[in-house]
C-alpha cells in the first residue's frame, strides 16, 4: 500500500490552452478517482481534516469514493461545504488538507482537491439537487425569519447556505449584475468556469436562499434600512477589493489597468469576446504584469490568451523563491510561455504622445538582509535601469479595504487599515446583530478562509436570533 504514485490529472496541453479560455485540468474520471481514493490510508487520526478551514470529513468522503458511493461522498462534503465544485478547484490544498496528509513524506500526498472536485462534478452530471426539507425558523407572523447578507462572494454564499440549512430565509444582496463576487469577476474562466458558480448559486436557491443583484448595501439600503425592513441580522461579506497602485509616474496612462479592472473586464464583462459583448479591453502586443501573487498569475495567463498578444512578462522585485502565488499557478504560467523578469522593480511607466503606454522603465534589484516577514529585502542596483517595451501594464499589487460600504455605517468599528473589527470566533462586529467575515474583516485571503468565516458567522447569527427572540427549539 501507499507505494502507488498519485494519479495524474489530465489537462489541456499548454500550446492548446493558450488559444482558449476553457478549463485547464479535465479532472478525474470515475476509474481514476476510485484509484486515487483507494491510495488513502484511512488514518485512525485523520489530520487532513484539521487542515481544512471548514473541517470537511475528508477521510469519509474519500472512503466513499473508493467504494464507488459517489452520492454518499458528495453528501458528506456538502455537510460542511456548500461550494465543493469551487473549492475543489481553487483551494490551496497544498497549504491546508494536503499539507497535513501523512503521505507528504513519500512525496505522493492524496489529491484531496481533485477528489473533491470529482465528487462535485459527478453530482452535477448524475443527480438533480435534492434539497432536504428543513424545519423553518418562523417569526410571529408565520414567515421565515430573514437574514440579510451583503455580498455574494464565498463568505456570503456560505453564510447563506448555512442559514438556509438551519431554516432561515437568507437574502443575499449583490452590487454587481451577477452573483458570485470574486468567483465571477476575479477568478478566470480557465481556473473556475462560471457555469460552476451558477450551479452552486442555483443549489443555494433550491435550499431556500434568495439572491438580489444590483443592490449595494450601504447605498441602496443602509444597515438601518435593512433592520427596518424586518431583517433580524446582517452579515457583511463584501470583500476587500480596492486596488493598490505603485505611486510611480505614468500610472494614469491609457493602457494601465489595475489587475482588478483587467480581470473584471474579461471575467465579468467578457471583453475577450468583444465585439459579441460590448465591453472592450486594449491589450496590444506586449503585456507587463507587476507582482507575483495568484492574481498576477491570473492576469498574466489571461493576457497570454488574448488575441494579438505575443509577449507577457511578470515583473517582480524579489526572486522566484519569494513569489507568493501557488506553485501550481507559477508552473502553469511557465508552461504557457510567460516571461519572468525577477529581481526587477518598475520605476516609471512610459507613454507616447497620445498618452498611451509604450513601455516601462525598470531597475534591477538584488536581495539584501531578511526583513520582518523573513523575506530577503530587495535593494536597487545603482545604474541598472532598463526599459521593458509594453503596450499594457497591469499592477497586481494586492488590495486595500474598500471603505464604500463601511464608512457610512454608524457605530461600526474599523481597524486602522479600514477592515471591520470582528470577534473571530463569532464574526460579531461592534453593532449587535451585524456580523462580518471574509476579506473585509481579515484583508485579502483565500476563498476557503472566507467560507470558513461565513460558516462561523451563520452559527453565531442563529444563536443570536434564537436568543434575542427567545425562541425555543
Amino acid at each position: 500500500m501507499a507505494k502507488k504514485p498519485r494519479i495524474k490529472v489530465r489537462e489541456q496541453a499548454p500550446e492548446e490552452r493558450i488559444k482558449n479560455f476553457n478549463e485547464v485540468p479535465f479532472g478525474y474520471n470515475e476509474a481514476e478517482a476510485v484509484e486515487e481514493a483507494l491510495r488513502c490510508l484511512q488514518c485512525k487520526n485523520p489530520v487532513c481534516i484539521k487542515g481544512c478551514p471548514v473541517n470537511i470529513n475528508i477521510k469519509e468522503f474519500i472512503r466513499q469514493i473508493g467504494a464507488k458511493d459517489f452520492k454518499g461522498a458528495i453528501k458528506t462534503i456538502k455537510n460542511d461545504n456548500s461550494l465543493p465544485a469551487v473549492c475543489g478547484r481553487v483551494c490551496p490544498q497544498e497549504e491546508q488538507c494536503e499539507l497535513q496528509c501523512v503521505m507528504l513524506k513519500t512525496g505522493q500526498v492524496i489529491n484531496i482537491g481533485g477528489l473533491e472536485r470529482f465528487a462535485a462534478d459527478w453530482e452535477a452530471q448524475n443527480t438533480v439537487f435534492e434539497a432536504e426539507p428543513v424545519k423553518p425558523v418562523l417569526a410571529g407572523d408565520g414567515s421565515r425569519i430573514k437574514v440579510a447578507i451583503a455580498g455574494s462572494g464565498p463568505a456570503g454564499l456560505t453564510a447563506a447556505g448555512e442559514l438556509a440549512k438551519m431554516g432561515y430565509l437568507p437574502v443575499v444582496f449583490e452590487a454587481l449584475h451577477v452573483t458570485g463576487g470574486v468567483l465571477v469577476y476575479g477568478i478566470p474562466e480557465f481556473r473556475l468556469p462560471k457555469k460552476i458558480v451558477e450551479r452552486e448559486v442555483e443549489y443555494l436557491k433550491s435550499i431556500g436562499a434568495e439572491v438580489k443583484t444590483d443592490i449595494l448595501v450601504g447605498k441602496s439600503y443602509t444597515v438601518e434600512d435593512l433592520f427596518e425592513m424586518g431583517y433580524k441580522a446582517i452579515f457583511i461579506g463584501v470583500g476587500a477589493g480596492t486596488p493598490t497602485f505603485l505611486g510611480i509616474p505614468g500610472e494614469n496612462l491609457i493602457g494601465v489597468y489595475s489587475a482588478n479592472e483587467f480581470l473584471t473586464r474579461i471575467n465579468l464583462l467578457k471583453a475577450y469576446k468583444f465585439p459579441e459583448y460590448d465591453t472592450p479591453v486594449n491589450t496590444g502586443r506586449r503585456v507587463a504584469v507587476i507582482g507575483a501573487g495568484n492574481v498576477a498569475m491570473d492576469a498574466a495567463r489571461i493576457a497570454r490568451r488574448m488575441k494579438g498578444v505575443d509577449e507577457v512578462t511578470i515583473v517582480y522585485r524579489r526572486s522566484e523563491a519569494e513569489m507568493p502565488a501557488r506553485k501550481e499557478e507559477i508552473h502553469r504560467a511557465h508552461e504557457e510561455g510567460i516571461i519572468f523578469s525577477l529581481l526587477t522593480a518598475p520605476v516609471e511607466i512610459l507613454g507616447d504622445e497620445n498618452g498611451r503606454v509604450k513601455g516601462m522603465k525598470c531597475i534591477k534589484m538584488e536581495l539584501g538582509e531578511p526583513d520582518e516577514s523573513g523575506r530577503r529585502c530587495p535593494v536597487a542596483v545603482e545604474g541598472s535601469e532598463f526599459v521593458i517595451e509594453a503596450d499594457t501594464v497591469i499592477p497586481a499589487l494586492g488590495t486595500k479595504a474598500n471603505k464604500l460600504m463601511t464608512e457610512d455605517v454608524k457605530g461600526l468599528k474599523l481597524s486602522g487599515r479600514g477592515y471591520i473589527e470582528i470577534n473571530p470566533a463569532t464574526g460579531e462586529t461592534s453593532i449587535p446583530g451585524v456580523y462580518a467575515g471574509g476579506d473585509i474583516a481579515t484583508g485579502s485571503a483565500t476563498v476557503i478562509a472566507a467560507m470558513g468565516a461565513g460558516k462561523i458567522a451563520a452559527k453565531a447569527i442563529d444563536k443570536y436570533i434564537k436568543g434575542s427572540l427567545n425562541l425555543e427549539f
Binding site: A175, I215, G241, T242, N252, S258, T264
Partner: protein, 280 residues
C-alpha cells in the same frame, strides 16, 4: 429586469427614461449616479440621476446616444425593460445654504445639474443658472431648469437661441455685473468644466464639478475611473463624482476618456450591421 415606464425623446439623440427601481429611489439624493446595462452583453454605463419619485419607486435618467451602448439603450421602449440598474452610487452633492449659487449645465450635463439646482434652491440659496447648448434644436430641460432656479440664462454657441456664446461668457458677465456667486456648480463636457474652473479660479470662487470618468463596477473595485485631484489619485466613483474644479487634472481626465475610441468605432460598426440585418 426593470420596467421602463416612460420614454421621451428630448431631442433626436437625447432620451429620457423613467424606470421602476425602488432600490435606487429609496436613498437617492442630488448628485448620485446609477449604472445601467441595456442587456446582459452590454457595457455598464454610468448615468447621473436626473430625478426620482420615491413613492412610486421610479428613477428618471437622461442620456445621449453617443456610442454603441447608449444607442442600444435608446432602442429600448416604454413598457419594455432594462437588464440591470444599480446604485445610487457616489457621494451625493453636499447641499447647504451658500448664499448665491451659480449652477451651470452644458448639453447632457443639464439633467445632471438639475437636481442640484433644485436642492440648492430648497436649501435657501439664490440660484442663478446658466445652461449652454450648441444650437437651438439641442436645448433640453429649459422649463425644468427655470423652475429650479431664481434666474436662468440659456446660451447657444451659434446664437440661435438665448445669448450667443459659451456658458463661460454668461458666467463672466454674471460675476462682473455684481451678482457674484458664493459657489459655482458646473456639469457638462470636460472642456466646459475646465473652462469654467479656469475662469472662477481667477475670481477665487469655489467651484464644484461632476466628473464623467470611464467606469465599470462603480464600487471602488477597479480603479478605472481614477483621476488626479490636486496631485493625489482619487476614484471618481467612490470619492466623487463631485470634486473641487480648481484641483482637477482635466487634461489627464480627457486623455483617459479616449481609452477605447477605436473599439467604440468597431462596436458601432457591428451595431449598424445588426440594424441593417434586422431592417433588411
Amino acid at each position: 429586469m426593470y420596467k421602463i415606464t416612460l420614454k421621451k425623446e428630448l431631442t433626436k439623440d437625447i432620451k429620457l427614461f423613467g424606470v421602476e427601481a425602488p432600490h435606487i429611489t429609496h436613498n437617492a439624493k442630488a448628485g448620485n449616479f446609477i449604472v445601467v446595462m441595456p442587456d446582459e452583453k452590454g457595457e455598464r454605463i454610468p448615468l447621473t440621476i436626473y430625478d426620482w419619485d420615491r413613492e412610486k419607486g421610479i428613477v428618471y435618467m437622461v442620456f445621449q446616444e453617443v456610442g454603441l451602448s447608449t444607442v442600444k439603450l435608446g432602442r429600448l421602449n416604454e413598457g419594455g425593460s432594462i437588464y440591470s440598474i444599480s446604485g445610487p452610487f457616489g457621494r451625493h452633492f453636499h447641499v447647504e445654504n451658500y448664499g448665491t449659487a451659480a449652477v451651470i449645465g452644458g448639453g447632457v450635463g443639464v439633467p445632471a445639474v438639475f437636481p442640484i439646482a433644485r436642492a440648492l434652491k430648497q436649501a435657501g440659496n439664490k440660484v442663478n443658472s446658466i445652461i449652454g447648448f450648441r444650437q437651438k434644436d439641442m436645448i433640453i430641460l429649459g422649463e425644468e431648469m427655470k423652475s429650479a432656479s431664481d434666474s436662468l440664462v440659456t446660451a447657444t454657441n451659434d446664437g440661435s437661441y438665448g445669448v450667443k456664446g459659451f456658458v463661460t461668457d454668461a458666467l463672466k458677465q454674471m460675476i462682473e455685473s455684481g451678482d457674484r456667486p458664493d459657489i459655482v456648480v458646473a456639469v457638462g463636457p470636460v472642456i466646459m468644466m475646465k473652462a469654467v474652473s479656469d475662469l472662477t479660479k481667477n475670481y477665487g470662487i469655489k467651484t464644484i464639478v461632476s466628473l464623467n470618468a470611464l467606469m465599470m463596477d462603480a464600487t471602488g473595485m477597479c480603479g478605472g475611473c481614477r483621476v488626479n485631484i490636486g496631485g493625489t489619485t482619487k476614484f471618481s466613483c467612490v470619492d466623487g463624482p463631485d470634486f473641487d474644479g480648481h484641483l482637477v487634472d482635466f487634461d489627464g481626465l480627457m486623455s483617459r476618456l479616449t481609452s477605447f475610441k477605436e473599439h467604440e468605432t468597431e462596436a458601432m460598426h457591428k451595431c449598424r450591421l445588426d440594424t441593417e440585418e434586422k431592417n433588411g
